[in-house]
């Protein structure tokens, strides 16, 4: 702040403007993405993943949609076949990382404090503690939030957004930005559909279509008797695609282009 004229006011006044406006005027036209620095760090993270042959998946949803529960069920289903690790993003606590560790795979907890989303630099810091050499599949569980995480590339290859059937089926219409960024929508807790009359999966699919999206939507239930077959199939196809990346199209959706 300027220490001499007291110009640190909510709005620039004519007086302090005049005091500063002494020299010639200059205008510079630029066309520059405001999040370019984050995007560069994200590209750097992606390079790390690619060099180590890791498929990185950013998992997003509102709080309580079942991200950690889905990851627990996924790890139990796949850990004999794949080396899995998880980066957990939460405002506070190591609880989710502890749940993942209890499944027998490495987890790093990023506690963001008051922050509402992960960004590429937070993930980059976490990568320093994660031996990528021994990993095939890395999940980045973002902070539970359907707004803020959408704008920040972390370096992931694919975005997955969960929509639990305990939420409204019109969420894609309410949060178009995050659903547009998704490569897959997972309808979670579908074992509850039988007792929840309000949620209509067809309406959720229509809301997605109204965003001009061909994004696939699959059903999962991760608790009691897990039913995650379609999700596991999608993951295996994504891994297969990463290993033979000649085709630019995955699951009808163009995969994240490598920087």
């Amino acid at each position: 702040m300027c220490k001499t004229c007291g110009c640190a006011l909510p709005a620039a006044t004519d007086q302090n403007r005049a005091m500063h406006s002494v020299g010639p005027f200059r205008a510079i036209n630029v066309i520059q993405d405001i999040l370019a620095v984050n995007d560069r760090t994200a590209a750097h993270n992606r390079t790390h993943f690619d060099e180590h042959g890791v498929l990185a998946i950013n998992v997003m949803s509102s709080p309580g949609a079942g991200k950690t529960a889905l990851l627990e069920a996924t790890i139990l289903a796949l850990k004999s076949r794949l080396r899995i690790a998880v980066i957990e993003g939460d405002l506070e606590t190591e609880n989710d990382a502890n749940r993942i560790r209890a499944c027998g795979v490495p987890a790093i907890q990023i506690t963001t404090g008051t922050a509402c989303h992960l960004d590429a630099s937070l993930v980059h810091q976490a990568l320093h503690d994660m031996p990528l050499d021994g990993i095939d599949l890395l999940f980045i569980e973002n902070v539970g939030n359907l707004v803020c995480p959408a704008g920040f590339d972390l370096g992931q290859h694919l975005n997955v957004t969960l929509l639990s059937v305990t939420e409204g089926d019109d969420k894609p219409a309410k949060y178009p930005v995050i659903f547009r960024a998704s490569d897959l929508v997972v309808l979670s807790k579908t074992d509850l559909l039988a007792v929840l009359e309000d949620f209509d999966p067809t309406r959720a699919a229509t809301c997605l279509r109204n965003l001009g999206l061909e994004t696939p939507m699959i059903h999962t239930a991760a608790r009691r008797v897990p039913s995650i077959g379609a999700w596991i199939d999608w993951l295996m196809a994504a891994l297969e695609h990463r290993r033979a990346p000649r085709s630019a199209v995955f699951n009808g959706v163009t995969a994240h282009q490598d920087a």
Binding site: A12, V22, P24, N29, I31, C116, G212
Partner: protein, 142 residues
């Protein structure tokens, strides 16, 4: 202000921090005395709320941009139909063709979050040293 200085409470603060940092780099490269106006373009599909970004900017502007004003150009959402090729304007959660109703469309505008223009005052030749000193004042973002 502890939380605001961390820059991540709402993501608009992170965006504002990135914006001020870019503007600071440009102003430094130009040797500017003060940034007067910053123009950005923002589309409804970029995920940043213009009002919140403007509020964040009012609280966070500092250093060479301490008196800068933020001008936000709002971009409408425009899509092109992949079937009939019509280009139509629409709202953020209805990205279907305005002519044929087809849902296979491509967003051609409306997801921008870009810095467009930085307007600044250059120092008078006689006050160059004073300006150089003042632009080195403590600032967290610029």
């Amino acid at each position: 202000m502890r939380a605001a200085k961390r820059g991540r409470v709402v993501h608009e603060l992170s965006v504002c921090q990135a914006l001020l940092s870019q503007v600071g780099e440009i102003a430094r490269a130009q040797g500017a005395a003060a940034v007067e106006q910053i123009t950005i373009e923002l589309g409804p599909l970029c995920g940043t709320e213009p009002r919140l970004l403007w509020n964040a900017f009012s609280a966070m502007r500092c250093g060479v941009a301490a008196n800068a004003e933020l001008r936000i150009e709002h971009c409408p959402v425009r899509i092109q139909c992949l079937q009939c090729e019509a280009r139509t304007e629409t709202r953020p959660n209805r990205l279907v063709c305005g002519r044929c109703g087809g849902w296979r469309t491509r967003v051609i505008a409306g997801d921008e979050l870009r810095l467009l223009k930085v307007e600044m005052r250059m120092p008078l030749a006689s006050s160059q040293n004073a300006v150089a000193a003042s632009s080195e004042e403590q600032c967290n973002y610029v």
